[in-house]
C-alpha cells in the first residue's frame, strides 16, 4: 500500500515537471514552428537559437527553484547541483550574446548546433534531477 502510494507520488513529480516545465519551455519552439507553417516560404525560419536558449533557461531555473525547496537533501549534493545549473545558465548567456552579435561575425549554423546541444544537456540534467527528487520523496 505504501509502495503504491510512493509510486504514485513519483509519477506526480515527473508529470508536473513534464507539464509545467518541459512543455512550457517548449512553447516558443512550437509557436515559431506553427508560425513558420502558416507563413510564406522564406519569411521566417522554422527554428531559432533564442527559442532553444529560452527552453534551456526555463529548465535550469526550475532546477534551482526545485533544489531550494527540498528540505531533507544532502547539502553538498544541493550545492553541486546548483553550481552545475548556474554554470549552464552562464553558458546559455554566452551563446545568447553570440546570437545577438549577428551579421557574419559568427556562423549561425554552428550557434544553432551549440544551443541545441546545450538545451539537450539541460533537459537531461533536469530529468535526472527530477528523477532523484521523485525517488527521494
Amino acid at each position: 500500500m505504501q509502495n503504491r502510494h510512493r509510486g504514485q507520488e513519483m509519477q506526480t513529480v515527473k508529470s508536473k515537471w513534464l507539464a509545467y516545465t518541459v512543455l512550457i519551455g517548449l512553447f516558443p519552439i512550437f509557436s515559431r514552428f506553427l508560425v513558420w507553417l502558416v507563413t510564406k516560404e522564406g519569411s521566417i525560419e522554422p527554428f531559432a537559437p533564442h527559442d532553444f536558449i529560452a527552453f534551456g533557461l526555463v529548465l535550469l531555473i526550475s532546477n534551482i527553484n526545485e533544489i531550494e525547496h527540498i528540505v531533507d537533501a544532502d547539502r553538498s549534493w544541493k550545492t553541486s547541483q546548483n553550481g552545475m545549473s548556474a554554470c549552464l545558465i552562464a553558458v546559455h548567456g554566452v551563446l545568447l550574446c553570440l546570437t545577438l552579435i549577428g551579421g557574419d561575425a559568427v556562423d549561425r549554423q554552428a550557434i544553432m548546433y551549440c544551443v541545441a546541444i546545450i538545451a539537450l544537456a539541460s533537459l537531461g540534467l533536469s530529468y535526472m534531477l527530477f528523477t532523484r527528487i521523485s525517488k527521494m520523496s
Binding site: C87, D107, I117, A121, L125, L129, M136
Partner: protein
C-alpha cells in the same frame, strides 16, 4: 574558431550529463541503503 565553440559546448554538455548520471547512481545507492535499513534481513 567555430570548431572550438562546438567542441567546447559538447564537452560542457557531456560534463553536465556525466554529473547528472553520477547523481542518479548516488541516488540509487542511497535508496538501496534506505531499503536495507527499513527491512533488515
Amino acid at each position: 574558431m567555430t570548431e572550438i565553440l562546438v567542441a567546447s559546448t559538447v564537452v560542457i554538455a557531456l560534463v553536465a550529463l556525466g554529473f547528472g548520471a553520477w547523481s542518479l547512481v548516488q541516488t540509487h545507492k542511497e535508496v538501496q541503503r534506505q531499503k536495507e535499513r527499513d527491512h533488515p534481513e
